[in-house]
């Protein structure tokens, strides 16, 4: 019996033995299947006439997106020797200013990057679009709805299907076209990729991926501080005394399994300890929190009815312990290991990355700019969070590069955008954050340096940004201007409120919300439209454009709007009607005010921007071009972001489809190859 006994020593050995054996068996089977299928796959491609890499001019194409990297700042820091890798790359290849889109907004510009078309063809004009019936703003990129069929049993609702997640960006991406030719791409966190579309490659969704609550990011601040006023974004929850510590409740997603089920909740306790630490107990686990130090990602499991569980991940930050205690919690991100909504293609890709590299932020805008705006966290905490997110992205990007022998790898880093948004007010002003943006650019340069290790003669690298940056000192409320100038009317006795509430549509010709421009309240298009389409609308657009161009901020004696363009002068395409009718080109220092962005009519047209969000780019696009740096020489002097998609196709020997409006950039052979030819 002895050998038999020794063969089984508890479940540990049992699992180890069985687990290892099964894993190896499955691994070998998958590997063998992959190898055996390879010739058939090749045959199938051949029979279908897919050209694959036959006509490719390059083996690998890398797009390293540094959102918001400003050309002027990049040039300045390169000159000062602070960005050695970008400088080397520029000298070896090219440095260009990259024309951005109208408006210069990330969802718009990156959609043009992906599709090679102008916004009227991909239908992304802003973060928000309006519902033509209700005038309520809607997320322009995505729509998430409950499953179509539900089984109702008493107070319970059982979904008979999955939630419907609809991508509202139109047109086709270059990676879809490449995939059809069996050229694979790995696309990481390129904005407006939620929900992920099916294609021959791998993709992780980015901007506009919601949190578990279905919002674009709702943080929570649990605090013993009384009052404190309402927050524009995020939620403040009380911490109540409980024994030696405090108790609170985390609000999760709505319980969709019950009629009017309300939010799923998770209780937690917080016990202050020595040295400003605290012990957090949530979901049956304990975590020692250190002051001003983010926890790793913590999994929260919300239990709905019938044993259904929804998982999310959060980081906590103990922001103060004495005399009051406050605990910041990030928005509840979709757990990448068990995603509640599709966030990658193939669906297991998100899980794979989480298992390989650890949990990571899945929320579209992972850096919590609103928490800093609302002073729920301070600058240090924001930077800590931003660079933690950046590190996660780096790990994914380099892991993808490690695994890419050929094809496309595209990854966008948002940290460059978010940190500039929040620290522009400090730039070169002295004080502790005077050099934060410089440090940010240095870090971006490090990423470029690490990327260069994956670049060889058969690789084209594009380091690019979707737009540059400017300061945001004054907000312009164009609803106020329209109101003061008789284009917008409020209901009798009403005040302008968020989301265009209080507006008398029967007397309103034009209105604004979002960041991009002005909409005409057009008859037959808007529910209560009063301006006739055609000549009347055209005349109104021209009138408004003329009056707004050169609009002055008399208080400061500065021009606030450089130019306003009727959108039909900028765009051509089937979705033109969804565009703002006028695109506003604000001057440096100005932008749509926070109130105007949510459709509120205020008394004053101009107001100081007092938020930490002090840098922006939603101004005249001519003022905020992006950056394009490549290891190859680029012939075009004035490349545009719409040129990137056709360039990607051209580099792999595929003729860009006729609908793509960008033109392939002519990129020369690597510098070394040229010198060899010259010799």
């Amino acid at each position: 019996m002895m050998p038999v006994y020794l063969a089984y020593i508890g479940p540990g050995a049992g699992f180890a033995f069985l687990g290892s054996f099964l894993t190896l068996a499955v691994g070998l089977a998958l590997g063998a299947a992959s190898l055996l299928a390879w010739p058939f796959r090749m045959m199938w491609r051949f029979l279908r006439g897919a050209q694959g890499y036959k006509r490719a001019k390059v083996r690998k194409l890398i797009f390293l997106g540094l959102d918001g990297l400003d050309p002027a700042l990049t040039e300045r820091y390169m000159k000062e020797g602070k960005l050695p890798n970008m400088r080397r790359l520029s000298e070896q290849g090219s440095f260009r200013r990259l024309r951005t889109t109208f408006p210069a907004l990330s969802p718009v510009a990156w959609s043009t990057f992906a599709t090679g078309v102008n916004p009227a063809r991909h239908a992304m004009f802003d973060f928000l679009n309006r519902n033509l019936k209700s005038y309520l703003p809607e997320l322009s990129s995505t729509r998430v709805r409950d499953p179509q069929r539900m089984l109702h049993i008493g107070k319970y609702r059982i979904p008979l299907g999955k939630p419907i997640v609809e991508m509202r960006r139109k047109s086709r991406t270059f990676w879809q076209v490449l995939g059809e030719h069996h050229i694979t791409s790995t696309v990481l966190r390129v904005p407006i990729t939620f929900p992920p579309e099916k294609f021959n490659g791998r993709l992780l969704s980015a901007m506009c991926t919601p949190d578990l609550l279905g919002t674009q990011g709702t943080f929570a601040l649990f605090t013993t501080r009384a009052g404190g006023g309402a927050m524009e974004s995020g939620n403040r929850f009380p911490l109540s005394k409980s024994g030696e510590g405090y108790a609170g409740e985390i609000q999760g997603p709505a319980n969709s399994m019950r009629e009017n089920g309300g939010a799923l909740k998770l209780p937690f306790t917080l016990k202050p300890g020595a040295g400003g630490t605290a012990l957090l107990e949530v979901c049956g686990e304990r975590y020692r929190l250190r002051p001003n130090e983010f926890t790793p990602w913590i999994t929260l499991t919300f239990r709905a009815s019938f044993g259904i569980r929804v998982k999310g991940i959060v980081r906590f930050l103990l922001t103060e312990t004495e005399p009051e205690i406050s605990l910041y919690m990030t928005p509840v991100n979709i757990d990448p290991e068990n995603p509640a909504l599709p966030i990658s293609h193939p669906s297991i890709y998100a899980t794979y990355l989480a298992k390989l590299l650890g949990a990571y932020a899945t929320l579209g805008m992972a850096e919590d700019t609103w928490a800093l705006n609302e002073q729920a966290i301070d600058e240090e905490a924001f930077l800590q969070q931003a660079y933690l997110t950046c590190a996660e992205r780096e790990a994914m990007f380099f892991s993808a590069l490690e695994r890419t022998r050929r094809g496309v790898t595209a990854c966008v880093f948002d940290t460059t955008d978010r940190v500039q948004h929040m620290f522009f007010r400090h730039k070169d002003k002295g004080g502790p954050y005077s050099r934060t943006i410089e440090e940010l650019y240095r870090r971006a340069d490090d990423i470029v340096g690490k990327t260069l290790k994956y670049v060889d003669d058969g690789t084209v690298l594009f380091v690019l940004s979707d737009h540059g940056f400017a300061s945001f000192e004054r907000g312009v409320n164009l609803n106020a201007w329209l109101h003061q100038n008789g284009y917008l009317a409020l209901k009798e006795g009403a005040e302008g409120r968020d989301y265009l509430q209080g507006i008398d549509w029967s007397r309103t010709k034009a209105y604004t919300f979002g960041l991009a421009g002005i909409y005409i309240n057009q008859k037959g298009r808007e529910q209560y439209g009063i301006v006739a389409p055609g000549a009347e609308t055209d005349a109104l657009k021209l009138e408004l454009a003329a009056r707004l161009t050169g609009l002055r901020d008399e208080e400061l004696g500065r021009t606030a709007i450089r130019k306003a363009w009727p959108s039909d002068a900028l765009y051509r395409g089937p979705y033109l009607d969804a565009a703002p009718d006028l695109i506003i080109g604000y001057a440096d220092g100005y932008r749509a005010s926070w109130d105007a962005a949510v459709g509120k009519v205020t008394a004053a047209v101009f107001e100081d921007n007092r938020k930490a969000w002090s840098g922006d780019h939603c101004i005249d696009p001519h003022l905020v071009p992006g950056v394009l740096i490549s290891n190859r020489r680029i012939a075009a002097e004035d490349p545009g972001i719409e040129d990137m998609a056709p360039t990607a196709l051209e580099l792999f020997g595929i003729k860009p489809p006729a609908y793509m409006e960008g033109r392939p950039l002519i990129v020369s052979e690597p510098a070394r190859a040229q010198s060899e030819v010259a010799a």
Partner: protein, 271 residues
């Protein structure tokens, strides 16, 4: 002495359990015990293993498996994933070493004790069996066997000189739970014998050395200078559960694993 005391304590505990659950068939008793053992082992496993590293390495294993699917169009990546998978697996096996070493002794002790409860069937009434005494050296006088009522000694002692063993063939003629007495060179030692009926416990070989007693714990050590062990060749028992009849160890393996697997979440243990 220590070994005897330990064995006796352990055995008494199991006897107490068996007596307390004597109302249930052996299969149910074994199932309950296996489940409890699984729970105990998973708890110990959780305490003595590096849970954080196990979780990490398991995630790596899973990642590399997914990698094989995700990069199935890239043979080079798939091949690299295979290698990583093998490495991660070895790491996983390595992490199991510590808990396995800690659990080895108690688990083996439990298993060797349980052998007497579930592994051996009593001698069948009417069917012959062999009884053997092994000695360290040749006996000076002829060994004598005295059997209790109900056991017939069918043959005189048969010596195997090169192995210093003496064997008898016996035949139970009635259910018996008693002792065989052996007189060798003037010293008498006994060996418990079970025949017929449904005894809770059937002791195996009775041994002399402390080390051997660790693995043969059914009866106290012999303590007589020349006798090394006394053995009755019992038939092997089988346990029938869910209509399947097989060795108890198989059921123990399955049931303890299953209970550990089911409850590992509750104990927050990763295996």
């Amino acid at each position: 002495m220590v070994m005897d005391a330990f064995n006796q304590a352990f055995n008494s505990l199991l006897l107490w359990y068996s007596a307390a659950t004597a109302w249930a068939p052996a299969s149910v008793r074994l199932a309950l015990l296996s489940a409890a053992a699984g729970v105990g082992m998973i708890w110990v496993f959780g305490k003595v293993s590096n849970q954080a590293r196990i979780r990490t390495v398991k995630r790596k294993v899973q990642a590399h498996l997914l990698e094989l699917r995700i990069f199935s169009d890239e043979p080079a990546v798939a091949w690299r994933a295979q290698k990583s998978l093998l490495r991660a697996n070895l790491g996983y096996a390595g992490l199991m070493l510590q808990p396995v070493l800690v659990l080895a002794l108690p688990t083996v002790l439990l298993l060797v004790h349980l052998e007497g409860f579930y592994g051996r069937a009593p001698l069948a009434v009417g069917r012959p069996a062999i009884v053997t005494v092994a000695m360290r050296g040749p006996a000076i006088t002829a060994p004598v066997l005295m059997a209790p009522e109900g056991i017939e000694i069918e043959t005189p002692p048969v010596r195997v000189l090169e192995r210093n063993e003496v064997s008898w063939r016996i035949r139970p003629v009635a259910p018996v739970s008693g002792y065989l007495h052996f007189t060798i060179d003037g010293r008498t030692v006994s060996k418990r014998i079970e025949a017929g009926g449904s005894p809770l416990f059937v002791p195996g070989r009775r041994v002399d050395s402390a080390f051997a007693a660790l693995w043969r714990p059914g009866e106290p050590r012999i303590g007589a200078g020349n006798i090394e062990w006394i053995d009755i060749r019992y038939p092997q028992a089988s346990v029938s559960l869910f209509g399947f009849s097989t060795d108890w160890l198989v059921w123990f393996f399955i049931l303890s694993m299953a209970s550990a697997l089911l409850l590992k979440g509750r104990f927050k243990v990763s295996v």
